[in-house]
């Protein structure tokens, strides 16, 4: 099970934080800070697995992370997930974001947090991996966005009618 998915930049500012188990707000912020501390100390060419975070769950949990330009993508998982599989999942996630946003960069994530959440919701649900096929994910997200757009359009046109 995936416990949490965190995206933060090189200075530790959170860009996305999704927890699949409940923690209080203070604990969530503490987890983000602690994860940033652990991950930012790592060299470039060391392995992508980290153990030893105290807050998020103790000995069973690992942090699997990838560093892309200015962003760290960190998945906190327990022993029931395959480590190499999660590494690939991060790769698929980033590629999906790239397709949806066209050459995604940090600013896209900053200004469209809700979109990123929607994409993530199509990939991971309740801490379990849902879908890993990039095209499938993108088609579903597009369909949902189209639905929203059509609603707004109807709403706006009814307002103008008044």
């Amino acid at each position: 099970m995936i416990k949490a998915i965190l995206i933060f930049n090189n200075h530790g500012k959170p860009r996305l934080s999704k927890f699949y188990e409940h923690y209080s707000e203070d604990t969530e912020q503490q987890i983000i800070r602690e994860t940033f501390h652990l991950v930012s100390k790592r060299d470039e060419n060391v392995c992508n697995f980290l153990e030893g975070g105290m807050l998020i769950g103790g000995s069973d949990y690992k942090l699997i992370y990838r560093h892309y330009a200015t962003l760290y993508f960190v998945f906190c998982v327990d022993s029931s997930e395959s480590e190499l599989g999660i590494l690939d999942l991060i790769q698929v996630f980033v590629e999906t974001l790239d397709k949806c946003f066209e050459n995604v960069c940090e600013l896209d994530l900053i200004f469209h947090v809700d979109k990123v959440h929607n994409i993530l919701a199509e990939m991971v649900m309740g801490g379990m991996v849902l879908e890993t096929n990039m095209n499938e994910i993108i088609s579903q997200v597009d369909a949902q966005n189209k639905m929203e757009k059509s609603e707004t359009f109807i709403f706006q046109s009814t307002r103008q009618d008044r």
Binding site: S17, L87, D88, F111, A121, M125, Q140, Q144
Partner: protein, 730 residues
């Protein structure tokens, strides 16, 4: 598209704040505006406000006032509002909040909505934060959705069911039939969900109904079929990741096969072919291929596979170990750790590579290498491994030190080739990583030193030299003080066969102990050790007793209560009980007790057993439950250098009892009690009682061969006791 524009403006405003204080100000203004807008009943921009609130929440500011707004938005008919509302529910609500109960009804309505995206929103939220009651309420709905026509909904329902089962394991029975039938789907997403659900169900408490419906052993051929399809099929563009067809699904299926084959011979046999095929055909140049191979290896090693397959698996792990990618090496070591207990010899073959990984720069790899190296230590490789481990200890990162130190101690204890090597190793660890060792190390080491009687001289010299150099490492200082106290005479004698002789004067030794006593780096326990050692030296060295007396009396007014008590008692020993001083501070005998008993003994280590008078008797009866008998059988025996002398233990009213100890074999000690009657008359009703502590095993006792102690000239027949030597691992 999404309610972005006002959100983006706010984000821009927050980002342009130059200081933390400014940012807080901006956010407070925004929150106030949002709160005001929540209070208004209807406005077009409700979703914008909630989105802003969620952004603020992510940055760490309080957002609980948005909870009721989430509930309202979820109930709204508009999709955009529902979407943000559900997102807010996942981020702000949890089972402990009352508001979460309010959304149960909305979720129920949305689960039967005509639009599949609304259904999926509801499923997603339930899977993320559904409480046990909500899950119980909504479980029938989810079961219905498991049989829906849309594969999009089916896969989401499957994962939602996993969450439900996690919260309420009894509901597993409800989902079992649907889960089983999902295995025949074609859509990979649904298959994936089905495999995950079945994996979860197989770890539920098993009711007979569940087992019957799941029919797990028969699921195995189905799963094998699916796997074969994935492995053998040609290139399928939609599921392809770097040349492997849907590796995520393959990994999941392999994991489920592992669970099914674990204690099941028949299933394991059925899987052998498939696993061999996957292991040989998978391309291992990319990470994806390695992920599948890794999972295959774990499965092979966990089920009852045939030996050829196991060898193949361990070889694959060996190849992983030599891979240049650190990730691969890390997971190879993780999996070797799991099998080091069962396939020890196979892992030993790769010992060299693992020990090299100890020198890797990566902290994660080092940690894994340490665990594995400690597991691989055996009697044959202890010397070389210990060299590497000690080298590692001197340069390892601080968070691994205590683990390394305790691992080294365990290994040394189990496989030490000689006592001197053992003591050297422990000394080395104490000087390098002294502050990170466990608390029991000090008593363990003291027991070890006491038992190695030939090495007392060597040990005390080494410890003294270490003490003079550095008094900051507390365990080392404690052991050194204790040793100097016990064997100070050996230290002062100056000659030692094992090390170079160093002239140490009495003043030097007392100086060292005084430095420890006065140093601010010494903990109270260490000071206690030093004070006791100083006191013991008063019997080991004949002059300079005045200096010792003055040191001890100073501490009679120390602020630390423990030290003060000790000092006052020692002072009393000097003043009023000087005749007992030598007996009390005598050298400790060789100890054979277990560690927990040892701690008790050390509590009174400076009090040696005193010969207590025998329970008195009249001239007619003499019971011999001598206190000394007790003490001797308590496992303490005299230092086994020469045959112990015969000791007269009782002489009263004409009855004389003498005891002599005789070591007949390595595991047995014979104590002979001779009773003689020096009076003119006969003694009758001579009974012998022996009380022995629990540590003595299997005492064979030959009872007194006569009930009457007759007046004879010849020595009467003696009573023999046999007691085995109690080993330190009894």
């Amino acid at each position: 598209m999404s309610p972005s524009v006002p959100l983006q403006e706010m984000i821009r405003a927050i980002r342009s704040a130059r200081t933390q204080c400014e940012e807080r100000g901006v956010i407070q203004r925004e929150c106030a505006a949002i709160r005001a807008q929540f209070r208004q009943s209807d406005n077009g921009g409700r979703s914008h406000n909630l989105a802003k609130l969620l952004y603020v929440h992510m940055l760490g500011y309080p957002a609980h006032f948005g909870q009721m707004e989430c509930v309202r938005m979820i109930a709204s008919p508009r999709y955009s509002e529902k979407r943000v509302g559900y997102l807010g529910a996942m981020m702000l609500l949890d089972e402990k909040q009352d508001a979460s109960l309010l959304i149960t009804n909305s979720i129920k309505n949305d689960l039967i909505h005509s639009n599949q995206y609304v259904q999926s929103l509801a499923l997603c939220t339930l899977a993320c934060m559904g409480s046990a009651e909500m899950c119980r309420d909504l479980a029938p709905e989810i079961d219905r959705l498991l049989r829906a026509s849309s594969s999009y909904i089916k896969k989401k329902a499957a994962l939602c069911a996993v969450h439900v089962v996690r919260k309420v394991p009894d509901l597993g029975e409800l989902f079992a039939p649907a889960a089983r039938s999902l295995l025949s789907e074609k859509n990979h997403g649904v298959l994936h969900g089905a495999v995950v659900l079945i994996t979860k169900l197989s770890s539920c408490p098993h009711s007979p109904l569940l087992l019957f419906v799941l029919c797990l052993p028969q699921a195995v051929p189905d799963l094998i079929q699916i796997m074969k399809g994935l492995v053998v099929s040609g290139y399928s563009p939609e599921h392809d990741v770097a040349g492997i067809s849907d590796p995520f699904l393959q990994v999941r299926i392999l994991r489920l096969l592992r669970i099914l084959g674990r204690n099941n011979e028949a299933s394991s046999d059925a899987m052998n072919d498939l696993l061999a095929q996957v292991a040989t055909n998978t391309d291992s140049t990319k990470t994806v291929g390695n992920a599948v191979l890794y999972e295959t290896v774990l499965t092979v090693l966990d089920i009852k596979s045939e030996s050829g397959l196991r060898v193949l698996a361990v070889n694959i792990l060996g190849r992983f170990l030599l891979n240049s990618d650190r990730n691969i090496r890390y997971i190879a070591m993780t999996s070797l750790q799991k099998i080091v207990g069962t396939d020890h010899n196979a892992v030993q073959r790769h010992r060299g590579t693992i020990v090299d990984c100890l020198k890797d720069q990566d902290a994660s790899v080092k940690r894994r290498a340490l665990d594995l190296s400690l597991a691989l230590v055996s009697a044959s490789n202890i010397r070389s491994m210990m060299k590497e481990l000690l080298l590692f200890l001197s340069s390892c990162p601080p968070d691994l030190r205590s683990q390394a130190a305790s691992g080294i101690f365990n290994a040394a204890e189990r496989y030490a080739p000689s006592q001197r090597w053992h003591i050297d190793t422990i000394l080395h660890v104490l000087t390098t990583a002294g502050d990170d060792v466990r608390d029991e190390t000090v008593p363990n080491l003291i027991q070890l030193i006491t038992n190695a009687s030939e090495l007392h001289c060597y040990t005390v010299h080494k410890l003294y030299q270490a003490l003079v150099v550095d008094i900051s490492q507390q365990p080392l200082v404690q052991v050194a003080c204790w040793c100097i106290g016990e064997y100070g005479d050996l230290l002062l004698r100056g000659e030692c066969q094992e090390t170079e002789p160093v002239q140490v004067s009495k003043d030097d030794v007392l100086d060292a102990l005084e430095t420890v006593l006065q140093s601010h780096m010494s903990s109270p326990a260490t000071r206690g050790f030093a004070l006791t050692a100083t006191m013991k030296l008063s019997t080991r060295i004949t002059d300079n007793v005045d200096r010792i007396r003055s040191i001890v009396s100073i501490y009679g007014s120390c602020l630390d209560v423990e030290l003060q008590q000790r000092a006052v008692e020692y002072n009393a020993l000097f003043k009023k009980y000087d005749h007992m001083r030598y007996a009390m501070l005598e050298q400790l005998w060789v100890i054979f007790l277990q560690v927990c008993d040892l701690l008790d003994l050390l509590g009174g280590s400076d009090q040696i057993l005193q010969p207590s008078p025998v329970v008195g008797g009249t001239a007619n009866t003499a019971s011999t439950a001598g206190g000394d008998l007790l003490d001797l059988l308590g496992g303490l025996e005299p230092v086994p250098i020469a045959p112990a002398p015969t000791v007269q233990v009782y002489e009263k009213h004409g009855v004389t009892l003498t005891m002599s100890c005789d070591k007949q074999s390595d595991s047995g000690l014979t104590v002979t009690l001779t009773a003689s009657n020096a009076t003119d008359s006969d003694m009758s009703s001579f009974t012998l009682q022996a009380a022995v502590p629990k540590v003595c095993h299997a005492i064979r006792h030959v009872s007194a061969s006569c009930q009457r102690l007759c007046f004879t000239v010849t020595p009467p027949p003696a009573c023999r006791f046999s007691s085995p030597r109690v080993s330190s691992y009894a």
